[in-house]
């Protein structure tokens, strides 16, 4: 009998757990350790953040799903990894602290034959003083944060209706943030809500970002065919900003936030401040606070994890200039180079380098997006790792044979920009591959036939369809495994 422990129940961890349970005989155990009792379809938090959905519409409790599928769910937080075991055992194990209210604070060591680190990001609000729900800005990273954002937005709309001018700043709260697409989507949802409320003319909306150009989205921008030309996501995005009257501050790093005021610097070395009435600024990410220890108790965290806290996997981490970046730098099996039974998927794996060109301000401040690795890529990684572990347990192979490199997979990003079945719109983008491969696709690095962008009601329907489809799939209902990641 083998035991697989999955740390985290987000998109990648939950996908891995369900596939493992589907692929492994019942004699083998699948254990999921997650500090959260709820599964959250994070892309729809945007709609919670403008009050169009309730948290209950984007979440469901994990335990009943795991009970139904025969997965052992433990509501706890992983704190330490012992990949070599210790003097008591030769098996690797994980130390966890329960967050389940019935066992809160209780600690436990869980032995494993294979472990998947899918702990996702630590929302690093602390990197920017005053940032976040405990400071002076709101967020849409969790359904709870999004609910609070919707309340504050309602307050802003009430003031606008009373004739008071308001400044809304939406974007990223640090020079090294990722998920610019989410900030972009929230910007246009807010803009739509203000128009819908008839108060748009009194509101100034400013999109503040670490991107070098609009439309970078942390993937270095896109090229796609439109009306017989190859156009750029920069031009396409600028057009939307122009149409909707949204101002922007590019290439910015937020230094600190005070009540109603944020301080920032830009890539050219300028420093300034900005007054605001409402600010939704995403935090930078770090890896979860997992430590690693060798058999003799020596701290090996720095060997197993990158300085950012993300797990080192089968990527090429050699420091090299942008011109020498290759698609093959990116991992494909997500196995730890130090321990063949330790895997890292989703946001929890350490990327070899950004996708967008890294840039620094004259004082050394890094102002460029970190690579996004959420959504479909996360699901594909979880699935590939589950298939590899199942094959190794069943003896079909003794090393990972299934691959899921971000340089060989695409991604779809549907950013809604307004609500309503007949009046909504969304910016739909697809790209293939996520990480450009200039050897395979000379010139643009991506397939021009599978990298697309368009705006319209169809995208809004697509976003709703994805919402329904992925929540159905995550609930493990009939035919769930037929729905692609």
């Amino acid at each position: 009998m083998a035991r697989v422990v999955v740390l985290g129940a987000g998109i990648s961890g939950h996908t891995a757990a369900l596939h493992l349970r589907r692929l492994l005989d019942k004699q083998h155990e699948v254990v999921v350790v997650s500090p959260n009792s709820q599964w959250n379809w994070i892309p729809s938090n945007i709609w919670v953040g403008v009050g169009r959905m309730k948290p209950s519409q984007v979440t469901f409790p994990l335990k009943p799903v795991y009970d139904k599928h025969g997965v052992d769910f433990r509501q706890a937080k992983a704190v330490a990894l012992h990949p070599e075991g210790d003097e008591r055992t030769t098996k690797g194990y994980v130390d966890v602290v329960y967050t389940d209210p019935a066992r809160a604070g209780e600690t436990q060591s869980i032995e494993y034959d294979y472990v998947i680190n899918a702990t996702g990001p630590k929302l690093n609000f602390a990197a920017t003083p005053g940032l976040g729900p405990d400071g002076h800005t709101v967020s849409v990273c969790t359904y709870g944060h999004a609910e609070e954002a919707a309340k504050q937005l309602a307050g802003v709309i009430a003031k606008l209706k009373a004739g008071q001018k308001q400044t809304l700043v939406i974007g990223v709260g640090h020079g090294t943030c990722t998920c610019e697409g989410a900030a972009f989507e929230y910007t246009f949802n807010v803009e739509h809500e203000l128009r819908d409320a008839g108060v748009r003319d009194l509101a100034e909306i400013i999109y503040l970002t670490n991107e070098y150009e609009l439309g970078d989205f942390g993937v270095g921008g896109l090229n796609f065919k439109q009306n017989g030309f190859v156009t750029t996501s920069k031009l396409w995005t600028e057009s939307l900003f122009k149409e909707r009257g949204v101002k922007s501050i590019l290439r910015a790093h937020v230094q600190k936030v005070e009540e109603g005021k944020l301080f920032y610097e830009t890539l050219d070395g300028s420093e300034d401040s900005l007054d605001f009435d409402f600010a939704m600024l995403l935090p930078p990410f770090r890896g979860a606070d997992l430590q690693a220890f060798a058999k003799d108790g020596t701290d090996i965290t720095a060997q197993v994890f990158a300085p950012s806290g993300f797990l080192k996997v089968d990527a090429d981490y050699t420091a090299k200039p942008v011109e020498e970046w290759k698609a093959s730098d990116w991992p494909s099996t997500y196995v730890s180079p130090a321990y063949p039974n330790v895997f890292g998927v989703g946001i929890a794996f350490a990327p070899p380098h950004p996708i967008s060109t890294p840039r620094k301000a004259p004082n050394g401040t890094v102002i460029s997006p970190a690579p996004p690795r959420t959504g479909m890529p996360s699901g594909l990684m979880g699935r590939a790792v589950a298939m590899n572990i199942a094959d190794m347990i069943s003896g079909k192979s003794n090393s990972p044979q299934h691959h899921a490199s971000m340089a060989e997979m695409g991604a779809a990003c549907v950013a809604s920009a307004g609500a309503g079945f007949t009046k909504g719109t969304a910016a739909s983008m697809t790209m293939y591959p996520v990480v450009p491969d200039y050897d395979k696709f000379p010139g643009y690095g991506r397939s021009l036939s599978e990298t697309t962008g368009e705006i319209g009601l169809a995208g809004h329907w697509m976003k709703h369809l994805l919402h329904v489809m992925f929540i159905y799939k995550a609930k493990g209902k009939l035919g769930w495994s037929m729905i692609p990641e």
């Binding site: 090294t176 600028e238 890094v366 479909m376």
Partner: protein
């Protein structure tokens, strides 16, 4: 050649000095008015077509097909 940090998430920063308060000022640094972009504005017809039901039903089918092809390719 551009230096490449291992990951931009690896690098934290220091807090520089603050701008002085109560000084008359122009627009915030880097603030761009959308009218400054040279990107084309959609025509009225283009905007209307974005919510035209028959057109969008067709686009929905087309986008779905494109996404399906990309998803199948990504699933190997």
């Amino acid at each position: 050649m551009t230096p490449a940090p291992t990951s931009s998430e690896d690098t934290m920063t220091t807090t520089p000095s603050q701008p002085e308060a109560d000084v008359p000022r122009g627009p915030a640094a880097g603030l761009t008015d959308p009218s400054a972009y040279e990107a084309p504005m959609p025509t009225e017809r283009t905007v209307k077509l974005r919510t035209n039901l028959p057109i969008q039903a067709y686009r929905f089918a087309a986008v779905s097909l494109k996404m399906t092809r990309m998803i199948l390719r990504s699933h190997g």
